[in-house]
Amino acid sequence: MPEINIANSAGRDALVALESVRSTLKVRWLDEQGRQVESARLLKGAVDRDLDALLARYGELPSVGKALLEGDPEVDLENTGRLLRHTSRVYVDGDRQIVHKVHFWEIVRNPDGSQRERRPRRMLDPNLAGEQPLRWSGVYIRRDQACRKFVFSSKVQLRHTNGLTYDFLYGMAKELERNDCLMLLGAGAKSKEPLILRRGGSPYRGFLEGRTQGDTYSLVLHFSDLELKAPQETPPPEAAP
């Protein structure tokens, strides 16, 4: 179960559990006999039978067409229609050979598609449960205002692991409820870094919401990577000064 190391407004910190709150529609598909069917992934054709391979073998498209009419060079009787299980992802080069040593680069582009930067790919490390707890930032935003400024694409719920952390989280929820606000939550020494849940994951801005109901609490961490605003119109290249 994922965890989060978080501090309250008094500077006390604790490691508590994080829980997903997604709910998905569970669908089963039945055939005409009332039997449940299963989804399966099937092989249509391997790389040695695709268009590039046929072009390498026959030379030109008209020759490929002629070969397709005279026979079935695109069908591999041993493999076509095979169920695919336990597969691996690999990289192949232009000759359709597996490449064992791959170098990854990131190309950062502007909204208009122009290149801004090219750099070696960076895999960001998770920072929710590190040695340094996420500090109580004290930066609040009203809930109704937050709805109109940010898009909350996912959320997780904090849950206690023992009696002490129950009191800890209940107190946080009560304080946030009193302010009726979301509190911005950041990582790093100055609480300004975005939150990263897993290695290589996307960075998000975090907003903590707290509610209580009797002796129960609800502490939800909302994630956002998008502001609710209209994109600026990009002028066509010939109109730019």
């Binding site: 669908v27 054709g45 170098h103 909204p111 909350f152």
Partner: protein, 204 residues
Amino acid sequence: MAKPLVFQFGDCDWPFTMNKVDRSRLYGYKEVEALDDHGRRCELATLTADGRTVVGRGGTAFGQIAPDGTWRDKGQLRPIDVDGNEIQSVPSSFGAPIKLFDVATVDEYLKHNIRLVYQMSREGDPADGDLAAELARGTIFKFPYSYRGGLEADAGFLLQGDDGNTFLAVGNPTKVEFIGLREMAVLEEEGEFDETELMDFDMI
């Protein structure tokens, strides 16, 4: 031209054109390039369990298989939920005007994961009209939304952003709950340490 999404508020129909809002249009985007030692571009492919068959992009398909291993066409199947009730499909939201009368609280809106956002625009003065006035007051309208129809409608919210523009937010509800003292998270326990395992050299 794309079909407008039409809302019905009061006695009027309000057609809006939709413009998707995503990170790439606001901030830019990243592409990942894979190169071999010679600087040649590589592509992602699938290696099957036999360790030698490589399947490129477009080389796989999904199908539905019955318990006896026979193929089933998706059109011949019927969907049911976990309780065994048949799921009725929902129509596309573009088929008829969407009646705006249900209003969502901020609490309810925040309980949803929003996965799509569209800027909504219409002809004429966007600040003109009863609907614009209602949205400017902070009302968040909620309605079932489905782009092309399907098994389940998403939750649609029509609201005004901080910049004064009108947006459609599409999302799914979550199962946020209130937690009591006894409902603590159960962390995985480590198994008991068996010293004899350390001396086991039969590691085949």
